[in-house]
Symmetry: C2
Subunit: 236 residues, 2 copies
């Protein structure tokens, strides 16, 4: 059984995307929506909070819920987006080359970050080509505990799809840090860096929904092909 407030959310998103209401116009009131969907006002409010968090509406006390300009704001809001999704969205011609798969040496400092007592850690290095140019190096580390098997085929595709669909794992949250660094020798060897003397580095820690650290990633981008979008809402 689908959750009621998610159903309402989905229906409202569809209507907004199809232009049911003009930008800057008001959604029906919470009481009207509660009647319309034959539910309680609190449940409607949960759906509206989702719409607000995702940048579809702005709630204004005493007035109503204003439709925001979908073309300006609708994009995958949160940061957990895999390269493949991104590339597919943009309909770019992309290729992934697996450079290296293996276990991390026990002495490497990365072991302490994972804080695991037993089991090994996978590491994978991949290069992402966009329209023929080598633009991104992805260096991933996975705890073997969660990802028992990592084949070249899996790495060629989307590791996240493999996780969610084959292994039944779900991501809970992620911490991400973006900095700009000098390119390493490896960056220079693996990428078409042109004359750029900087490289954009996105380091992330990805946790499952039971709060166990599951993946550490370092994604190194040629600066001109990097773009990060963020939608932040005042907390209430």
């Amino acid at each position: 059984m689908q959750k009621k407030y998610v159903t309402i959310y989905d229906e409202l998103v569809t209507k907004i995307k199809h232009g049911e209401w003009a930008a800057f116009s008001m959604l029906p009131s919470e009481n009207e929506l509660a009647l319309l969907y034959n539910t309680s006002r609190e449940t409607v409010r949960k759906a509206l909070n989702l719409l607000s968090q995702n940048g579809y509406i702005q709630k204004i006390q005493g007035k109503g819920s204003m439709i925001l300009d979908v073309n300006k704001f609708s994009f995958p809001v949160s940061g957990i987006v895999s390269f493949k999704e991104l590339a597919t969205n943009l309909k770019l011609d992309t290729r992934t080359k697996v450079i290296d798969i293996g276990y991390v040496d026990k002495e490497q400092p990365i072991y302490s970050k994972f804080q695991i007592d037993s089991g090994r850690i996978w590491h994978v290095t991949r290069v992402r080509e966009i329209t023929g140019e080598r633009i991104i190096v992805d260096k991933d580390y996975f705890a073997e505990e969660f990802v028992p098997l990592l084949s070249k085929e899996i790495c060629q595709g989307s590791v996240y799809e493999h996780l969610e669909q084959d292994l039944g794992l779900t991501i809970g949250f992620a911490q991400k840090e973006i900095t700009v660094e000098e390119p390493t020798e490896e960056d220079k060897a693996l990428l078409d860096l042109q004359d750029y003397n900087t490289i954009v580095v996105i380091k992330s820690l990805v946790y499952l929904d039971d709060a166990s650290l599951f993946q550490i990633t370092e994604s190194r981008h040629r600066p001109d092909k990097f773009r990060f979008v963020d939608f932040a809402r005042r907390m209430k």
Copy 2:
């Protein structure tokens, strides 16, 4: 009268920060907290959702709310942080130099972005010095409608403080885009760029809580002094 769930949230944050509960241990259950704070479970849940959104806990169905490692995750999560807050947090020696204040020419394309029919648009250019080096150029645009007066003194300090405290305006949400570009001649003139041939550009659109566009900012950073942290949680 302070909102009850915010009070509970604040108290729990304080306790977590002071190490009342160890990382990876469980918070008291929602029922216990409801008794403890003499309130209903739904109100406790609102407080816990705030804790979760801000990276203090991870809720796990059937088990409880796990305390996360505060040292790892606690930072101002959302993106609306002014330069001054940031600098004060880091206790760095910083100075702001106002380069230019004035009205934007009517013909400039920025007018169409604001979508206003009457009133002018302020623009301010400021250079931020950190420990003696000129690191950041901030180019801000404000609608005169909301910010009637903009003095050199205000610009020298925090414009946001001026807004919230003197003008009674509150920020609702903001959209932010981070890219890396080639430095302009102005960047080269205003900053100590060293040999870097890239510059990090953060463009933001800031909206008030009635969804009116109030500010457009372009913040241009020397790449080695740039750092962006993001905490993303799966939406529920």
